[in-house]
Amino acid sequence: MKTKSAAFWTSALALFALSLPAQAPQILTLAEPQKVTVPRQGETRVALQLSMRPGYHANSDKPSEDYLIPLRLTWDAKAPLEPVEILYPKAKLEKFEFTEKPISVVDGDFEIVTRFRRAPNAAPGPAFLTGKLRYQACNDKMCFPPTTIDVKVPLLLQ
């Protein structure tokens, strides 16, 4: 009885899902950024925690082929912090069914760290850093259109 019921509900769930329109899947997930305290002087590092869906990869920030779209983080210019350097995750070289030779990709859980310096006119108090993360993902059989994730990091400027 239990197994019949399980089969029924699993099938019902599957049929319901089938009736939904096809949607671009969420392949790369950005963890909610934590508030960053910005000291009056010195450098501030902001780390974005990212997680790629298993079985998928994105091109690294330095793709090995010209035609591939790189992982790219950009910060909005009007911010209390000025980016000094963006440190992308270490890429791995991986061969796929559709590549003749290994290509430079990132996958799994990784972080992108940005080193900032405080803008000279930045006032103390709460603020936000905003930016965009663009990536293009594939799995072994198919690729997905380039996607942009909006990034918003809460700050507390001392």
Partner: protein, 178 residues
Amino acid sequence: MHTFFRLSGAAILAACLLLPGCASVASRGEPAPGSSRDASARKAAPDFELKDMNGKTIRLSDYRGQVVLLNFWATWCGPCKIEIPWFVEFQRTFKDRGFTVIGVSVDEDGWEAVRPFLASRQVNYPVVISTVEVEQKYGGVDALPMSFLIDREGRIANTHVGLVTKKTYEDEIRRLLD
């Protein structure tokens, strides 16, 4: 045993839905690769009108009476690049039997990106640049490559999302041409 298979089938279907590519295929009600939908179950391929690289209008309905392989692709799509030489070969082999490939690029940069690519690959079939409207007509192009094999009556006989084998395409084309 029956229950086991029923459960397994349901579990596979549910698991499949959690996989993006698989979900796309499943939601499009696909026959197994290499086979085609029964003629009675085929739906009309939505018509469109787009310009090719030389400004010539490519209208799908103008190809009625031919078998058409409608391929959505992009220059940044690795699996698409594997298929394109196959399509060039199919165009050469089957053109005289009433077959054509139509490539629909979804590149954001349009001809700027596509023109050099076509020249480098000596693509011998019509290629157009996609629009959101055309993609919507085909259920949304959420993964590439995405191809539709259209029979001589203008109906969709097969849909493929993702890389399939050259033989799969070849078998399906031959079946529709015969």
